[in-house]
Symmetry: C2
């Protein structure tokens, strides 16, 4: 019998009672948001039209280290948390590696991913403020599903703008959101000015996350007592997602271990930011020095090939501007890109940490290599992973194989953000050898950079 | 803070090390299987052509009370077990019932159901015997997926005959089995004599579980060193599935409770038989007297409207005959029936227990009422249930509402066998108000009864 079990579960009592705000320990904060109306740094009040007040405050708060998780949110967490920390014994054996591989599995809930952690928090605060409807965007559909679940639970009507190509590739994602009572509109749509403008320019577009965000925000601003909620990128989301890292660290303490390498897939940064939070705290406070790797698709390489610059968070250019690694808010990944991680930018917090050298490395990987890793993982760990999560799997396998060469028994931790049950169309492509890779050329990327906004005195 | 947590997890150490064989405590055994070649009672050896030897022995063994779970099987169990015992606090609150509702959730694995519990055992024994390929049938697809996972893990090639109408309704179920390396053939097919005979009689048939079983068995018998494995009905399957009930009972002991009512959905009986096993032991040995309810679809009502008679286990009439509640092996549920639980018969063990009055009650429910319960459950417990599982949910809700009327605080336990992520087509029908009910007429059923086999001196 192995000393470390295959699955480490915390008890309900051990679920963290507070989220951890990484910014409280950062040496330098990310550059301030810019109000697109005034082109001056934004205040919390500037965000009230879009976000509910408590969330706007969390967005701006870089001082409060620990934030109490409200009881109502905690009670929801108890339905599907703690999530297991898993030791990948079978994968280790299959790879014949001396490395010890752990993954934090966030897929054991109906949304199929970690997105539920922030969805329930955001819906709770909205309900508390008396907001009567919500709106959001979704790409691959995990966030939309998570928010639908939370809105059904707290009984708030929800409208989801779903990236059109995703809604076509994943009709059942749409159906599951509708089962939870959400209204789902493929984006770009003719229901908003932003959508109509994009359709006029490019009638056959499959849409993009940035474009769906624009439509959702416009919907929120124009509908009485409605607010917009977002599943990634924002500081508030990273705060809520810190539950992932906090549980992981507590579980690792139980089995008396600590990661040498921490790996997360990175789209907007919600899972990566949440997973690494307490380990990054150790690094910032010089208690430990784990090596962090962010993994992104080669077809949407914001950290590895993007610019660190102010940009809009949405294609419609109505959100505040954030300083982040970005491909330009008009960047849309190639249609052959499967799954999520299709956002043009990256969390301002993670961007800052990467820029300042605390996030050690970013790696971009082609999707056929991602699916190779997914199929191998499924076979030995018997979990069918989401394409997003499989980015982290790929690099965890690569690092474990390096250990095999060097003989080092490193402890590798990665975030298994979710399951691929609604991604079977992509798996069919892969199974039938019809999946291809696409890497944007420098010229492709230059178009996005050329469109970056100019801000007088700040960014020319 | 509630005393009983939302989720009760056993530790890895507490996973049962032995399966429990309910037959060892039954006052009377079910009538013997009949060899269809000789029309005499079958011996274990008669089954060796179809089943591997260890499984054939388990099928016949009504003496051994506890069977050691092999270490290789246990190591696989540790990847996804123990499964949680859940307290449905939110559902109780929504129903405003004094009842305490618990469910054992078997859906937290990629097969999405409890079927994996027996799949891994059957594949292990086949591998151990040196069997080089396996074949099976699948209806709704949970069993086929589970077996694909187990075969990938133990590296044995697998051919799955999938009921044609299911393979059309659920293309992604097919894809997930293929991702795990299985070959999937819609049934009836032209690859077997049984399939060709059925197609000649009825070229447009959507297939049935019995028919797919016939094809799989023919494939197994005609392929060298190949064996057939089945996910329900059989005694060996109920033995493996006893892990569900054993874990449930251990978890309930931890929180110092015991069920007044135990509810399970019933198709072939694999989940129901596994869930109730140790509680039925208590009843048989007069230690306790829980009330058992089997829930079946009104469109396939073997317990409530079937005959207790000898019948073939398959439409092709090549399996041993079993005495069981049956609608006749040629019975095929209406095409509008969604999900699984479409088998014409019922586990011989459960049939015997029902016939002798130990299984207290069987209830048949229409599918629109099933989906009403599923949607309500999803909203409050945030798990999207499989249609099969929702049969148990429906009756648990009905019983909890009775408690509301009487004021009784009964403890209700039901089996949540799995998730509905691959059943979205049925949910779409339901969401769009296009789902209808079908209850077979007495005349419909009489056709099935007229076709029951005659066995000289045993059944005329």
């Amino acid at each position: 019998m192995s000393k470390v079990p295959y699955r480490v579960y915390l008890s309900e009592e051990e679920i963290p009672r507070k989220w951890y705000n990484l910014r409280a320990d950062m040496k330098e904060q990310h550059e301030p948001y810019i109000n697109p109306g005034t082109m001056k740094p934004a205040k919390a009040e500037d965000l009230y039209a879009v976000f509910c007040e408590e969330l706007a405050k969390q967005e701006m708060d870089d001082k409060t280290r620990y934030v109490d998780i409200p009881e109502e949110v905690l009670n929801f967490y108890k339905i599907y948390r703690p999530s297991p920390l898993c030791r990948a014994y079978n994968l280790e054996k299959a790879l014949d590696t001396p490395a010890k591989i752990y993954y934090k599995f966030e897929g054991n809930n109906t949304s199929g991913s970690h997105k539920l952690n922030s969805a329930v928090a955001q819906v709770y605060y909205a309900k508390k403020q008396g907001i009567t409807s919500l709106t959001t965007e979704t790409g691959a559909g995990q966030w939309g599903t998570a928010l639908s679940e939370a809105c059904a639970y707290f009984e708030i009507p929800l409208t989801v703008y779903m990236v059109k190509v995703s809604s076509q590739q994943k009709p059942y994602r749409k159906a599951i959101m509708e089962t939870f009572g959400a209204k789902v509109i493929p984006s770009p749509s003719d229901t908003t000015e932003a959508g109509r403008a994009i359709l006029a320019k490019n009638p056959n577009t499959g849409g993009s996350l940035g474009c769906a965000i624009s439509e959702a925000i416009e919907h929120a601003v124009k509908t009485e007592n409605c607010r917009y909620v977002l599943g990634s990128v924002l500081n508030q989301v990273l705060l809520h997602q810190s539950i992932i890292g906090l549980e992981t660290k507590a579980a690792m303490e139980k089995i008396d271990t600590y990661p040498d390498i921490v790996i997360g897939c990175a789209g907007g940064g919600s899972n990566l930011g949440g997973l690494i939070a307490p380990f990054m705290q150790d690094k910032l406070t010089e208690k430990a020095n784990p090596y962090f790797i962010a993994v992104e698709p080669a077809s949407c390489p914001s950290l590895t090939r993007g610019k660190y610059a102010y940009d809009f968070c949405d294609t419609g250019k109505i959100t505040p501007l954030a300083k982040m690694y970005t491909l330009g808010c008009e960047f849309i990944p190639s249609a052959n890109h499967a799954g999520g991680l299709r956002y043009h930018g990256m969390s301002p917090i993670l961007s800052k940490l990467y820029h300042d050298g605390y996030m050690d490395e970013a790696r971009a990987v082609e999707q056929t290599r991602i699916f190779d890793a997914a199929a191998l993982f499924a076979k030995y760990e018997t979990i069918l992973p989401a394409p997003e999560s499989s980015h982290a799997i790929r690099v965890a396998i690569d690092e474990a194989l390096k250990c095999k060469e060097t003989g080092e028994a490193k402890t590798i931790l990665f975030g298994l953000t979710g399951t691929g049950y609604f991604d079977m169309q992509a798996y069919i492509q892969y199974n039938e050898n019809k999946m291809s890779d696409y890497i944007p050329t420098d010229e492709d990327l230059q178009k996005g950079f050329d469109a970056l906004p100019s801000i007088p005195g700040i960014q020319d």
